[in-house]
Amino acid sequence: MVEQSPAPLLAIEDLVVEFTTDDGVVRAVDGVALVINPGEIVGLVGESGCGKSVTAMSILGLIRPPGQITGGSIHFRGQDLRTMPVAELRRIRGGQIAMVFQDPMTTLNPVMTVGAQIVEALRLHQKISKAQARNRAVELLKMLGVPSAEMGFCQYPHQFSGGMRQRAMIAMAIANDPALLIADEPTTALDVTIQAQVLELLRTTQRPAGAATLLITHDLGVVAELADRVVVMYAGRVIEQAGVGAIFAGPRHPYTLGLLTSVPRVDVEDDELRPIPGSPPDMLAAPAGCAFHPRCPLVRQRCRNQRPPLEEVADGHWTACHFHQELIGADGRQLFAASEVSA
């Protein structure tokens, strides 16, 4: 569907992930298509519950019951990860595709030293001796700015601060030079000055190595700092994607525009925030037609009963809105004029 380069590193097509709950089946991801090219940093953006993390987990086959991938394909270097034998998928996981999670405290093993965990990751995927692995691990910790890396190697996660833990996580993730790094809210739990450090690290370690990164975040600032291309999700679907410049300068979906007018900014002299009214839909009872229509300032009858397809409206710029034409040159501040109270 979304073809941009002859040989994408990762190509997700029509992905559907469903969760069975007591109240019914929730379609957390509903027909997502996503392409990542070698060396590219793709930002996957959306609010909580939009399906961005579930999409990422699906790539590595980490969806567990009650969740289930019920449709679509995920191709990595031409191989379908969904139909691949588990043993083979394990070799790719942590090797060619690695992941950094939001909360390092729950992902690091509390009873193993940080060093032992990195060594384990290395020796799982590379045929090297313990001593070699140890040296490489210390080298990685040094590269990521863990002070006194030799000592850090022997310490347990609880002896690390939040920022250091996240560095250890990144060290582990990039230990095997992955072709694709999936970073799920890698800086959300960190203080701003530490966040700046980690973003700088992602910028400086991934890019020169020619590796691709899928950066999942709710923070538009982080995306603007790092991403080459941005994919915006809403209610389980991709609603817009484009190069980072186009997304911020000329969004063609009202949701993206609304996100931009909602964000308080330090660099713009304006006092009034223009929030998107209402709240994201309950996925058990997603609205008919366009899922965004109950909150949309452009809403017409057509939006209520006909779901807009994701279509290319400019070079490499895709959007799913019936009335995307009206957003050309539109003033977002006027469109979302202070509608503050809505329960």
Partner: protein, 374 residues
Amino acid sequence: MSQSGESKDPGQRRAPDQGSDGSELLRVEALTKHFPVRAGVFSRHAGDVRAVDGVDFTLRQGQTLSLVGESGCGKTTTGAMVARLLEPTSGRILYRGEDLALLPAAELRAVRADIQIMFQDPYASLSPRMSVHDIIAEPLRVQGRYRKGGSQRVAELLDMVGLMPEHARRYPHEFSGGQRQRIGLARALALNPKVLVLDEPVSALDVSIQAQVINQLRRLQRELDLTYLFISHNLSVVRHVSQRIAVMYLGVIVEAGSRDDIFRAPQHPYTVALLSAIPIPDPAGRQTRRRITLGGDVPSPSDPPSGCRFRTRCWKAEAICTTQTPILTDRLGDGHPSACHFPELDAIAPQTAGTGVNLDPAVGRPPPAQTGSR
């Protein structure tokens, strides 16, 4: 540590949307809070975590003062002391000129109604076993104000924060994060407070909802002439809500001033670094932006560095910073005090082009070694 600048408050002068007189409502003087650290089998007193270590500020009627800083800087502890949830180790909190520590119990009770707090976590701060009506009515009952028109007051409060009357019968789990934050707000407003301590009120919310709650807080402030002590780590949010801002680091205020002072002409290197660390949602300037990447972490508040507490991460640190604690002083006499031996006194916009500073060993060379900075 007194602030000469507090007497003529620039926030009052340059305040935007202000219908209020901006007179002093609450003043905090040399406030400290030390938590004892106990160790060994006999719980020997092994030292103190100096969470708040001498803080002064003034809240002005109808205005917002924000405390910003990273985790562990003491902003939440300060807020909890103002709301009387924690007893200060030393220092004074004066409300309308009266020292709260010296007030008789009956009068303190009345003051408690005037100073209310709203918490960060909408999921942990509401009792799951109480209906929304009971949650909002609880403060009224505690203060003996429920019997006379309590239910009606609850309905009024729900309306005030943008919820429906029928929501009163429901329980917290039936609401989204943004709605729960509104319930917390309604509860905090129940007793007609004068001062609201808002501890990270929007940090747990999605951006679209965050903006709704921020706008609502601002509207309520105008309508009810509320005074806010706004506690946040998010400088972008702080810029939108405050007249005055105090930047905290390791238990002390390192810089205080009006919103424009802090954002347009920051003096303290820590403030400059904080501002430059904020990711800007505009990719256009990302190549040319001046970035200051601090190295390392915030030191432990149980053993803060000697002299200036920021010196271990500062690119300007020299010998004097180790030996002498910089005092919060108003150098230019314009109500914008900072605590630094080498303040930036020329207005610099931290995000504009210029040479970046990188102190992170992982992402570039550290700056040349300087005497005194360890």
